[in-house]
């Protein structure tokens, strides 16, 4: 049964997944092409100076991509489920409803995580050929909150979508947007280094949020 759910979820997200793969690949090519361009047009030393002492982020293009990825995966996975309340069918399968939901959310979460992992690896490997390790590592740690935002966005977007009532949904959206903004504070590099562990724990805790809405959906709430 779980295997079938895998297949069903895969059918839903495959095109979105491919599209985002292309988008990310394009973004990374763009980032390093502009780095190469900067090397050609400016003195390398002053380019480094801007990165090290003025906090210029050559990778800033990648900032909102994980957020977008989270939103898209949540949408393609859960919007079809609430149309004509299809998810109710799932709840009538002879498996535990919460496990089904957890597997669905898990597939989305892990697919995003895998994607972000691959991108980080590519970024690091290409980065080393353009910059000394210090700059590449700083860039990577500065991007970790953006990836965590992508995962959090996915979790929060899916629970917002699955919530049956608009009255509640508005509050959920307000809290979610406010929370998401906290991941994009400030402009200097590495400023999140001291709270990354806490953010990671919260991201994991929030990954099961969809259960809350699923529970409400199943019970058929009226307020």
């Amino acid at each position: 049964m779980i295997k079938n759910i895998f297949y069903k979820e895969w059918l839903k997200i495959r095109w979105a997944y491919l599209a985002r793969g292309l988008l990310f690949a394009g973004a990374i090519i763009y980032v390093f092409a502009s780095v190469g361009h900067s090397y050609k047009f400016y003195e390398a030393a002053s380019y480094w100076y801007n990165i090290i002492f003025r906090g210029v982020k050559f990778y800033t293009t990648l900032r909102y991509l994980p957020l977008l990825a989270g939103l898209v995966v949540a949408a393609v996975q859960f919007v079809p489920e609430i149309q004509r309340k299809r998810i109710k069918l799932t709840f009538h399968l002879p498996v535990d409803e919460y496990n089904v939901l957890l597997v669905m959310a898990g597939i989305g979460f892990v697919s995003l995580l895998a994607m972000f992992g691959v991108y980080s690896l590519v970024f690091l490997l290409v980065g080393y050929t353009y910059f000394p390790a210090e700059i590449v590592h700083s860039a990577f740690l500065t991007m970790v909150p953006w990836y965590l935002l992508g995962l959090t966005t996915y979790s929060l977007a899916s629970y917002v979508i699955l919530e049956p009532l608009w009255k509640r949904r508005i509050f959920y959206i307000l809290f979610a947007v406010g929370f998401g903004k906290l991941f994009l504070y400030g402009w200097f590099y590495n400023i999140y280094d001291r709270v990354l562990i806490g953010m990671l724990i919260l991201t994991i805790l929030l990954s099961v949020s969809v259960i809350y809405s699923g529970h409400r959906f199943k019970k058929g709430v009226f307020k």
């Binding site: 030393a45 002053s46 090290i52 050929t129 406010g178 504070y185 200097f188 709270v195 919260l202």
Partner: protein, 419 residues
């Protein structure tokens, strides 16, 4: 179980989000600001003069509160406004019998500012080491950046992106000869070409000795400054200037302020009488032909200390004012919001969760919130006993908890429990 985890996580997130945004939103409407005065010591009258913004107008005063016109004020501070005074033809020839020379005034006029967050800021540990004796009029940026590892000083060429082995070996050798122990604990530089000359960098080594490293005609010049080890160096602002009296300012771990002087690197402490709190005050050091001045600009007041050129304290000025928390709107805020959270409290560049608790005033708001919550539960026909965690939460987190619990209360697990 898992429903409960997700629900409590969502409540927690909602509370944090509200504690960050709601007080900020409140203060958008009711904020008050007392602009701090800009205080300077007049060599003409040997007393403090200041200007400050009052009702969107600049007011010029002395320390006794007498009001001056702008022209009068400028005439009292000739070392500050000499350009204006010369242009107006009002520059005095001498003060107290000392003849004034514009070049001397200019040379002695320095200003160094240090904000709290600058003491705790992420830093990619690659630094440029400028050529200090190039023979050129203007300083130029080198192609290499250096790092100090466990093994030595390593120069990375920014064009080839490879380690310059020759230069690295040269500097590592020079450092070892002077007894430098790798790795470096702290590195301080002034990485800019917009200065008159370059003094290289200052480095604290593994056994807490402060070294001065320069590049002169491509060769390393390394000096152990023998800076006293009982002064624990927290930060150094390297500030080359033509006065050539000090290399820069050192802030110690216990918030004392020192000049590192050209006189065999001897430290000279600037007087602060323990008033400096590096996490809260903006430090401003100014020097002029007659005086050295330390200004500590805080949210709730200002402390100014003035010394003569031999660093003997000659006068001080203190003023304090109410912060927004002490105004009625501040008290109301403390009653409405049991705490506020910010991502940054100004003492660091790093992000954290900084909570400012508003108890005991906050009990007023919390009790009201708790009453509303109890009425809400009664109306929903819920048993209070079943809602003890929520009741405790509202008692502690007041308004935030109330809103969060009302938004996330209707988990229909309770549906069957209702009468």
């Amino acid at each position: 179980m898992i429903v409960r985890i997700s629900r409590y996580t969502l409540i927690l997130v909602a509370i944090v989000v509200m504690a960050i945004y709601l007080p900020d939103f409140y203060w958008l409407f009711f904020d008050v600001k007392t602009p701090s005065p800009y205080v300077s010591f007049s060599p003409v009258d040997s007393m403090f003069f200041m200007h400050r913004r009052k009702d969107n107008k600049l007011v010029f005063l002395d320390e006794e509160g007498n009001i001056y016109t702008r022209d009068e004020y400028e005439a009292k501070l000739p070392f500050f406004y000499y350009m204006q005074l010369i242009s107006d033809g009002r520059m005095p020839e001498s003060i107290h019998g000392i003849k004034l020379d514009v070049n001397e005034i200019k040379k002695n006029r320095n200003m160094h500012r240090l904000k709290p967050y600058q003491l705790d800021i992420p830093q990619i540990s690659l630094y440029p080491l400028l050529e200090s004796e190039s023979g050129r009029v203007r300083l130029e940026f080198p192609d290499e950046y250096f790092r100090i590892t466990d093994e030595g000083m390593e120069f990375v060429n920014s064009i080839t992106r490879k380690v310059d082995k020759e230069m690295s070996a040269l500097f590592t050798q020079a450092l070892k000869e002077k007894g430098f122990e790798f790795p470096a604990k702290k590195i301080f530089t002034n990485p800019t070409t917009r200065k008159a000359f370059d003094e290289g960098c200052f480095v604290v080594d593994a056994k807490d000795d402060l070294y001065h490293i320069k590049k002169a005609k491509g060769q390393p010049v390394v000096t152990n400054t023998h800076f006293p080890k009982d002064i624990k160096i927290r930060h150094m602002m390297v500030t080359e200037n033509t006065l050539k009296e000090y290399y820069g300012t050192i802030i110690s771990e216990d918030d004392r302020i020192y000049f590192l002087t050209y006189d065999e690197y001897k430290p000279v402490e600037l007087p602060t009488k323990g008033a400096y709190d590096s996490g809260k005050a903006i430090l401003l050091i100014t020097t002029d032909l007659f005086f050295r001045q330390v200004t500590l600009d805080k949210e709730d007041g200002i402390d100014v200390f003035v010394t003569d050129r031999d660093y003997n304290l000659i006068d001080e000025y203190h003023e304090s004012w109410k912060t927004r928390e002490e105004f009625p709107q501040g008290k109301i805020a403390r009653a409405i919001f049991p705490f506020s959270i910010s991502l940054n409290d100004g003492s660091t560049t790093y992000v954290g969760l900084y909570a400012d608790w508003h108890f005991p005033l906050a009990w007023i708001g919390n009790i009201i919130a708790l009453l509303i919550f109890v009425i809400f539960l009664k109306k929903e026909k819920r048993k209070l006993k079943k809602s003890i965690p929520e009741l405790v939460l509202v008692a502690v987190t007041g308004l935030y908890g109330l809103i969060a619990c009302m938004v996330y209360i209707y988990v229909p697990v309770w549906h069957s429990e209702r009468k």
